[in-house]
């Protein structure tokens, strides 16, 4: 099976570059150069060195003993929460900032939902001395206040977006508009495996460090590099794509992606694109999309700002279509419960996004000998206000 994009940026029928002419030169430039740069020795050396010394990679693969006992299976956590800035997002921004510099760009723009990608972008911009503008939906500015302050302290300009639902989708529109208006000096660091080709492939490759490490770490710990399951949450799908990537060819490894079920799939308030969506075009790519019969985008809902996106990366639509990955979902409540469980059993406060992946442990009975890897995409500092609000309601 082939899991790479074709020349035009398609995974099967999904992907592509559906962009107005004003963006064509920028996107074309990236399409032309990204593979050459990624494969270049100097790039790899700089990227790897920064991942090690600055980001703190490799992140541990941690055997969660008490969690394993509780679920009667073998649970390993890939600790992306321990990276600098606290989520996997920085793997991507480190890579893209080096590419941006190589392309001679002096100004960086980004969209952000939970603020993790915004923080990761502001961080690498501070590191490289580049100007940084982050677009963030007004609602997210409010619900992720600590991250807004972090971005500002890092020297980024945070622009609240008032259009649409004032969340991630709208922030992405605004970042695209900025890029249309600043085509020469600006690089757009997209935060997930979405957007026009080459972004889905570029971000997947940069995040693939996650599964690259899992392979040797699991082998070191168990003698076998292949787990039975890898579970990751999906908003746009970058942490999942990174955690799956090096296992795509190995069909013995079951891949499970968990979307945000919000208040329940049938409530009309969720961000579960695979269940409630159908193919469509948004933000420059064709993929599964939450939309009305008339093709208007439906505003998604999730308590977790990082999963609150109406689309999903084209690689995931493809994996779904061919049956290589299974797409599940977890509600706000299930995620909160799972977050508290991990916290109380292991002393790790996960990001609310990552808690959706953990929640799958409650939904499926694994065999005692199954090796189950959960990609713990981020830490929960940014979600403390939400967690505290629900403290009383979480019973066990």
């Amino acid at each position: 099976m082939n899991y790479e994009v074709n020349k035009k940026g398609f995974y099967g029928e999904y992907g592509g570059a559906f962009i107005p002419e004003m963006l064509y030169p920028n996107v074309r430039e990236l399409q032309h150069h990204y593979l050459t740069i990624l494969k270049d020795n100097d790039f790899q050396q700089e990227f790897r060195k920064l991942l090690k010394d600055y980001v703190g990679r490799p992140t541990p693969l941690y055997y969660a003993k008490r969690l394993s006992d509780y679920y009667k299976t073998q649970v390993y956590l890939k600790r992306e929460d321990l990276t600098h800035t606290g989520a996997h997002k920085i793997n991507n921004t480190i890579g893209q900032i080096i590419i941006a510099r190589r392309l001679g760009k002096t100004r960086i723009i980004a969209e952000t939902g939970a603020g993790q990608h915004g923080v990761a972008t502001a961080t690498v911009c501070a590191l490289m001395g580049l100007k940084c503008v982050v677009y963030m939906g007004k609602l997210d500015v409010e619900r992720q206040a600590p991250n807004v302050l972090r971005m500002k302290m890092l020297g980024a300009e945070v622009v609240p977006v008032y259009s649409g639902n004032m969340t991630l989708k709208d922030a992405t529109n605004e970042a695209i508009r900025d890029w249309i208006n600043n085509p020469v000096d600006t690089h757009y660091i997209i935060g997930s495996v979405v957007g026009p080709h080459p972004y889905p492939d570029l971000v997947t490759r940069l995040q693939s460090i996650i599964s690259e490490e899992i392979r040797w770490q699991l082998k070191e710990q168990t003698g076998n590099e292949n787990p039975d399951y890898i579970i990751a949450c999906v908003g746009g799908g970058s942490n999942a794509a990174g955690a799956f990537y090096h296992y795509l060819d190995n069909e013995d490894v079951k891949l499970i992606a968990v979307e945000a079920g919000g208040k329940g799939i049938d409530s009309g308030e969720s961000a579960a694109t695979m269940v409630t969506g159908r193919p469509g075009i948004l933000h420059g790519c064709r993929s599964m999309l939450m939309q009305t019969d008339d093709g208007q985008i439906i505003e998604p809902y999730s308590l977790s700002a990082g999963l609150d996106y109406p689309g999903i990366g084209p690689i995931h639509s493809y994996l779904y279509k061919i049956g290589r990955a299974v797409f599940e979902n977890a509600t706000d409540e299930e995620a909160l419960t799972a977050a508290y469980r991990l916290t109380r059993l292991e002393g790790i406060i996960p990001a609310l996004e990552s808690a959706h992946a953990l929640a799958f442990l409650d939904k499926y009975t694994f065999k005692p000998e199954d090796v189950v890897i959960i990609n713990l995409s981020g830490r929960g500092d940014k979600d403390m206000a939400t967690y505290i609000k629900y403290m009383e309601e979480i019973k066990d």
Binding site: F18, Y24, I180, I281, Q296
Partner: protein
């Protein structure tokens, strides 16, 4: 002959094309606005299909799209509203919109309904050129619709030549690297770009759009192209109280200085 070709054959300069968002300001404004524009001297009209996420549009057209969607505008309804229009309006009409609503409607069905309504051309800024050539060119041709491509100041010369080669209506010259919206005047860089394109001696006529809002900007654009397209400034002019027909008449007169 297609009305677009006929227009450019009959009129070589000072062509005024006006964009309006279907379903704005009221759900059933569209047919009325088109008729009033034609009466007031517009040479061509672009009917904007509202979309929830118009990525190439600035605040004015974004807001008009939001309003139109809240008013209940859909493609189906729009086609119903347009069906009798050709009895009264003879100037070329173009449908402009983003790809997703059109794809969900079905491209062939969309083209069929366009041709039934007497539409002459289509602008879908996020339909890539290569995909148009590979998959959709023949559908547009079958229904006698001119597909209009955009170029921007950043578009490379060889790409402009290619676009010129595959176009047979007109080329939509985006005046600056920007989203739609009202701007004061043109910079020297913009004038250089207008001149550069004018000197390319393309086989297709050109209309300059984005940021044109006054008699002055319209006149300057007309010096370097066959005409210009006005969007945001017109949508803005529809705001507020007052007789809409009068507002439209005044707007066209202000631009054309009749």
């Amino acid at each position: 002959m297609n009305r677009i070709n006929k227009l450019f054959q009959q009129k070589q300069g000072n062509i005024l094309s006006v964009y309006c968002t279907a379903g704005y300001p009221l759900l059933d404004s569209t047919a009325f606005i088109i008729k009033a524009l034609a009466k007031a001297g517009a040479d061509m009209i672009e009917i904007g299909i509202p979309f929830s996420d118009p990525m190439a549009d600035g605040p004015v057209i974004q807001k008009s799209s939001d309003r139109a969607l809240k008013n209940g505008m859909t493609l189906n309804l729009l086609f119903e509203q347009l069906i009798d229009l050709r009895k009264e309006v003879t100037i070329p009409l173009i449908m402009m919109g983003y790809l997703n609503p059109v794809m969900q409607f079905g491209m062939e069905n969309f083209c069929l309904r366009c041709s039934e309504a007497g539409i002459d051309g289509v602008i879908l800024p996020d339909l890539p050129l290569d995909l148009y050539l590979e998959e959709y060119k023949s559908v547009f041709a079958k229904y006698h619709l001119k597909f209009v491509f955009l170029i921007s100041p950043q578009t490379a010369e060889n790409r402009i030549r290619l676009i010129d080669k595959v176009s047979n209506g007109f080329i939509y010259m985006v005046s600056a690297s920007s989203t739609t919206g009202v701007r004061k005047g043109f910079s020297t860089a913009q004038i250089d770009y207008f001149e550069r394109i004018d000197n390319m001696k393309l086989r297709n006529p050109r209309l300059i759009g984005f940021g044109i809002s006054s008699h002055d900007t319209f006149s300057v654009a007309c010096r370097y192209a066959q005409g210009a397209i006005i969007g945001s400034a017109f949508v803005k002019a529809l705001h507020g109280v007052g007789d809409p027909e009068e507002k439209i008449r005044k707007f066209c007169h202000r631009i054309l200085k009749k």
